[in-house]
């Protein structure tokens, strides 16, 4: 199960994103492809399908996006003219060693040796928090993956340290 949770994130491309960059950047809707990210109704989403329709004499087209919210997995759809500006979230993924779990909050070891204590166990997917907690209580040494976008940080995977 742990492997599975991690595997769904493996195809995410995190290159080209830097800490301190703005939450979103503009892009022509027609440039956003399957597998890319898009903001829909203010939420960062990953595009799972995109189809283009030609509807008028001037050759304008609309892009029909089917996407999933990267933090809660909800399926969302949007239709945008391909020449219009839409927004792409900056998405980052970081790995931390888990030090402790207390009252649903995790304590993580940062690269600089300091600790990070502001993250809660995730609400999504259902039962995932209990799964991490159990693995921790079983005495396993864990590393957590944290996905960051639009000011949200969420634990999205864990794996047992070798």
């Amino acid at each position: 199960m742990a492997e599975e949770a991690a595997a769904t994130i493996e195809d995410y491309d995190f290159s080209g994103t830097t800490a301190g960059a703005s939450d979103v950047f503009p892009s022509e809707a027609g440039q956003i492809k399957k597998g890319g990210y898009i903001m829909i109704k203010g939420r960062p989403c990953k595009v799972v399908n995109v189809s283009t329709s030609k509807t008028g004499k001037h050759g304008h087209a609309k892009a029909n996006f089917t996407a999933v919210d990267i933090f809660n997995g909800k399926k969302v759809e949007d239709v945008v003219p391909t020449t219009h500006t839409t927004y792409v979230p900056n998405v980052n993924r970081s790995e931390y060693q888990l030090l402790d779990i207390e009252d649903g909050f995790v304590s993580l070891l940062q690269e600089d040796g300091g600790t990070r204590d502001d993250l809660k166990l995730p609400d999504y997917p259902e039962g995932f928090d209990q799964e991490i907690l159990k693995a921790y209580q079983d005495g396993k040494s864990l590393s957590l993956s944290v996905l960051s976008a639009c000011g949200i940080d969420q634990i999205i995977a864990y794996k047992e340290e070798a």
């Binding site: 979103v24 008028g56 001037h58 050759g59």
Partner: protein, 309 residues
């Protein structure tokens, strides 16, 4: 997701249906583009009792699909000197867009047509076919990908002329556009380059083209404004639509361009002309208002979302 071609065909052929709906059916068939769609559109095109506006749109759609099976129907329309000149013009343009050599003799015949817009369009199509042959089979595809040094088109349309080279300055393009001593094909190339650049200077240059002596040329300018959707073109388009003495083909394109730009101002102007004396103009306003509404939904939502974020 695949469109029901049989139902669309039925709608297209039913002249009692509203023009907005039938025009939309034609464009859905264009997107489909399979041979059944081509034959349905060809069948509707041949009904001379039907609206000239719809029929000219059908000829245009056949050119855009680019299926050579449409050629016999288009050739028949172009060859009928009693048919509507707008429909014949569009048939001639479509034959150029398809680019089959079988159309060359008929285009050469009607290059001497008594109606200037038909004759000029035949000349343009012959020049386009010749240009493509000189460049080789892949010329239009390469242009689409921006590989042969021409101004790259962001629009999904097969144009009556290729764009000019990217290294030609906008001022030079403007000079070529307005030089009536040049062949129409060369002036169109400048026009499509200016369209692809879509800057304020390009819009200003093109707007001057609306004063050209040739109605065909003026209608093409109005058409590219519809593609560009640049609000800077609205005053010029509005003046064209409001000028009751202007050629119906030009007023028609201006109306549809205003619909493509959209927004309350454009829709307000269009609403004033939905009862114009000229059938083609009033039907264009009706269709344009439908388009403005169709695109408006997503634009309105985009504005709401961007101001909320």
């Amino acid at each position: 997701m695949a469109p029901d071609v049989a139902a669309l065909r039925k709608c297209l052929l039913d002249v009692s249906q509203p023009i907005q709906k039938r025009t939309h059916a034609a464009f859905v068939l264009r997107t489909d583009g399979e041979s059944e769609a081509v034959s349905a559109i060809g069948e509707a095109l041949r009904n001379k009792q039907d609206s000239a506006l719809l029929r000219h749109e059908l000829a245009y759609v056949l050119g855009q699909i680019g299926d050579r099976k449409a050629c016999p129907n288009l050739i028949a329309v172009l060859s009928d000197e009693n048919d509507d000149s707008m429909v014949r013009h569009e048939a001639a343009e479509a034959l150029g867009a398809i680019g089959e050599v079988e159309a060359v003799p008929v285009l050469e015949t009607f290059v001497r047509d008594s109606v200037p817009e038909v004759a000029d369009t035949c000349r343009l199509s012959l020049d386009l076919i010749r240009w493509r042959h000189q460049r080789g089979e892949d010329a239009s595809l390469a242009q689409e990908k921006g590989q042969i040094g021409l101004d790259k088109s962001p629009y999904m349309s097969v144009d009556p002329a290729p764009a000019d080279r990217v290294d030609v300055s906008t001022a030079e393009l403007e000079a070529r556009l307005l030089d009536t001593s040049l062949p129409l094909f060369a002036r169109y190339r400048a026009m499509f380059s200016l369209r692809n650049r879509n800057t304020t200077e390009a819009v200003a240059a093109l707007a001057q083209g609306l004063k050209d002596p040739s109605p065909l040329f003026r209608h093409e300018v109005a058409y590219v404004f519809g593609q560009m959707q640049n609000p800077a073109s609205v005053p010029a388009l509005r003046a064209v639509l409001e000028d009751g003495t202007e050629h119906r083909m030009v007023r028609h394109e201006a109306a549809e361009a205003l619909g493509a730009v959209g927004g309350a101002d454009c829709e307000g102007v269009l609403a004033r002309f939905v009862r114009d004396e000229e059938v083609v103009v009033r039907e264009s306003c009706e269709v344009a208002l439908g388009i403005a509404e169709y695109w408006g939904e997503s634009v309105a939502r985009e504005v709401v979302e961007s101001s909320a974020s």
